[in-house]
Amino acid sequence: MSKGIAITGMGIISAIGNNVAENFQSLMEGKKGISKISKIETIHKDDIMVGEVAYTNSELVDLLGLSTENNYSRTGLLGAIAAKEAVANAGIKDMKAYKTGLISATSVGGMDMTEKYFYDYLENDTNRRYIESHHAGDSTQKIAEQLGIDNSLITTISTACSSAANAIMLGARLIKAGQLDRVIVGGADCMSKFTINGFKTLMILSDTYNTPFDENRKGLNLGEAAAFLVLESEAIVKAENKTVLGYVKGYGNANDAFHQTASSDHGDGATLAMEKALEVAGFTAKDIDYINAHGTATGNNDLSEGRAIIRVFGDSPPEFSSTKAYTGHTLAAAGAIEAIYSVLALQNNVIFPNLNFKTQMKEFNITPQLEAKEKRIQSVMSNSFGFGGNCSTVIFSKEQ
């Protein structure tokens, strides 16, 4: 059993709030952030519901104090806001005092600007500065700049919808290996026409509020968000007498090796990821008090994940819920969004409800937690699964 890595700061911006406090309040009040799309002009606007961040780009630019000539994609803007909150929350005054890195995750990258100006770029030079902010690593470079992280180890992970969970995993491993003393980990993805149409062609977008683990689920709502956590070594925590919000206790990544976009019927990859995470934590299934499920509300995911949960936990798993009904599916950011929700569950000894559930799935008997519930929570498991068969599980714990 290895020691957990301390989480000392968190920051988030999502459809249910612009910071950690607002997100927590919405979670407790059962307040969804899902609505008709308002910030992107799309012919699908009447057929889909999404989770949008309230701020417009120009409001985000003002909040960050950027010049109007900046070339930040919305992914970069959202990421910078959340990462700054995390760093402030961790009480970091001097970024250079320790060897600090940044691991971010994104799937969309700068696609929002590319799709806006794709043909226009050739016609006039007004927006050409965005051409070089298209690639996925650019938003991470921008976030690093905003945080004052230079001459440092920073990288970007893109494994579709498990990306940010993998960023957390890598960050914890880098601290364990002594490569870094401190690392800011998380992910950001903005809404884009590209993903809306992509998921639309896959026919997995719901035309109404998504209903995770419900028999009659119709698919997912896309969301946009960013979330970051600060991980610090034991030495820093001791030297600075830091408040620890929780520990990254276990993690596992596995590949389903079944299909490019669909999960296997019995969740082989998901099962392996959960088992690996338990092993790294030195836990057995009974040590988990709450599972924050991936629960996208697609037919395929919820069945496959539910079966995998039963394979790992038996027919009576701990309380589980998906928070995607609040935020929508925030793709590469989801693992970090739900990591923060997991830590909030630990801190407040509360399980967030799985909203919109009406009908029990017929394939199994496990039912998500439907009401907010107070419970002494020692450890939380968070699942994130993505295209390419990518399956990730992270375990958060109160104790190191």
Binding site: T42, H135, A144, L170, G198, A257
Partner: protein, 354 residues
Amino acid sequence: MKKVYINSISSITAQKTFDNSEFLDEVIIHEDQVIFAVEPVYKDYIPPAAARRMAKGIKMGVVASKLALQEAGLEQVDAIITGTGMGCLRDSEKFLSGIIDNDEQFLTPTSFIQSTHNTVGGQIALELQCKGYNFTYVHGSNSFESTLLDAKLQLELDEAQNILIGGVDELGDYTTKLNKIIHHIKDEKTNSNNLLDSKTKGTVFGEGANFFVVSNKKQDTSYAEVVSVEMYNTLSQNDVAKTALNFLKENNLTVEAIDAIILGNNGDVEFDGYYNELTSTAFSNTQQVCYKNLIGEFFTASPFGLWIASKILKTQTIPEALKRNHLGTASFKNILLYNQYRGENHSFTLLKTC
């Protein structure tokens, strides 16, 4: 901690590198601003029906990974870690232009599915039925170096014994146009022989896939030991030499111990200064090796440098086409690699004979 070895290498680039029995025996001289990969016969490796659905980058990645596994004599690995700067660019362009041209109608999912950055890693896992760890890094010119660092961490701690790593990027026609209008691609055609001294802005773009099996088990056929890899998101030109020397010092080496330095010069007058900082000072008496004039620049061009380093250490020779200076160094034990793109995402990698 266990040591980390490169047990096999494979490369598809704008040179005929996929035949690993050769070491740039014949060099193709390119003239254009954009140079394409010399492709192997895909049907020797991928069933034609499957190949038809795959864009070039996926095909290059899948074949390069197979060649690497074949050479390592492995049918399975413990983990697959890929790097790509731009992802599956052709599918992204195709899906996006479809959205715009047809006002979001009549779209099919194939190009969207394949546009995901981890498509190559997922495809390889699917084909090998490899259920192990599977990551994809997308961090500009440090996309591949991230895979190397990640694999090294796992191998050193014996969390895995054999890991397939690789970098892949493909050229996309529209993105090429965009890189021309912002002059990241040179305005003028440039011959491979003149690129590195061209003194103009921008570079020549290329594409390719370079894969490796790295392992903590040394074989008779192993190429090299990976001693260290370090990445920096930013670095000022004034600090490059100092950082390189510090990197060597951390590994208990001095400049004199380095038998060759492999550099990522791409002939861009605005950014080659970083490399000149090393070649004109600390490493002026070291054998200098450059390669981007032969394969073009792309975010995962740097693993071709690792391919070259591996070849040099194993064969103890350097093809003339790669030599930037002529020192007559006869034996090669330690090789340093340095790469960056447009002044960002710098990496230092140290290999030695094993």
